[in-house]
């Protein structure tokens, strides 16, 4: 068991784009174990992406076993994940191990279909909705060098245009 150091904003490496995994070998299994340990060490943490620990391959873990109220697949290791379909949008609050002490409102797709390889290299496909879909989108963003900070929205923008007050 090894907990790795988490990169914290404004570390420029968080902007780096990660490369696809090509070898499903024992080094990959060892890394996934470390990544999982690091995620479990983060209080309330429900996902993590490899670049957050300075490893720039397309590997994320999504784990909602601690959130049984939300429909979810349990712990998932997603390798080279791709969102093939998405629909709906929903606003929700996000924070990040790499952005401590701040949370913000973010719009994400409500439903996604995701294809990815599991840790043995078998192709998989998942339908996700709600909170689990949000976590997957948040983690996959890390693989492309994006933080939730890049998607912050102003709540006012959802509202109706303001009435003109007479002078």
């Amino acid at each position: 068991m090894a907990i790795r150091d988490v990169l914290v904003y404004p570390d420029p490496r968080l902007k780096q784009i990660s490369s696809p995994v090509t070898k499903f070998d024992s080094a990959l299994q060892d890394f996934i174990r470390d990544l999982n340990d690091t995620m479990l060490a983060g209080p309330g943490c429900v996902g993590i992406a490899a670049p957050q620990v300075g490893h720039f391959e397309r590997i994320v873990i999504v784990d909602l076993t601690s959130k049984p109220k939300n429909p979810n697949h349990g712990k998932l290791v997603l390798i080279n994940p791709v969102i093939v379909e998405s629909s709906g949008e929903k606003i929700g609050r996000e924070g990040c191990l790499s952005v401590p002490d701040y949370t913000g409102n973010i719009v994400r797709a409500k439903n996604i279909t995701l294809s990815a390889y599991d840790e043995e290299g078998n192709p998989q496909s998942y339908e996700m909705k709600g909170f689990e879909a949000r976590v997957a989108q948040h983690e996959i963003d890390h693989l492309d060098g994006r933080l939730f900070l890049d998607r912050l929205v102003c709540r006012r923008s959802e509202l109706f245009p303001r009435q003109n007050y007479a002078e």
Binding site: C45, V46, G92, R93, G95, F131, V135, R155, F160
Partner: protein
């Protein structure tokens, strides 16, 4: 560590207010914290936290010239809890209905009695619609708030929606 102050500036809106005020603060060596800067009914309102090495009077005096330039009223308060950690809201409530006097008072009074602590409230008027968006913490649980909202919807002819905020950490 320099003390924190809350500056309030209000006046008729015109271009350049934010740039003028924040540049003056920067020139005086102040470091800004969180701020709310918003146009309300033709006025522009600024509330901003700033860290500054001098006293309340010294900060007021330093910023007064730019406030005068833009015809803004200026008020400076010391901040009592400088290391205050912002609370994370766990509930979002949206209420809307036909515009009339009393909606905010009725809704927030009922919610306060059911344990809501408001962290952020924004309202808008869109034609004949009054809209209220509240984020806060539910000190007596979410069910207590839902019950109050159901009553308001029934008795006051308002549309209400409550969504728990489950903050993602990842």
């Amino acid at each position: 560590m320099n003390p924190w102050y809350l500056l309030t500036l209000v006046g008729k809106d015109r271009p350049g207010i934010v740039a003028g005020v924040t540049s003056a603060l920067y020139k005086e060596g102040a470091n800004l914290g969180e701020a709310s800067m918003v146009q309300l009914g033709g006025n522009f309102t600024i509330m901003v936290l700033a860290q500054y090495e001098g006293t309340t009077d010294e900060l007021s005096k330093a910023i007064l010239p730019v406030a005068k330039d833009f015809d803004l009223r200026l008020h400076v308060d010391p901040v009592l809890e400088p290391r205050h950690q912002a609370s994370i809201p766990d509930v979002r409530i949206t209420v809307y209905g036909a515009d009339r006097a009393g909606i905010v008072a009725e809704v927030t009074t009922a919610l306060a009695e059911a344990g809501l602590n408001i962290l952020n409230l924004e309202t808008d008027v869109g034609g004949a619609i009054y809209i209220l968006i509240i984020e806060g913490t539910a000190s007596q649980g979410i069910d207590a708030l839902q019950k109050v909202l159901d009553n308001l919807a029934r008795e006051k002819n308002l549309e209400t929606r409550l969504s728990p905020i489950d903050t993602l950490i990842g």
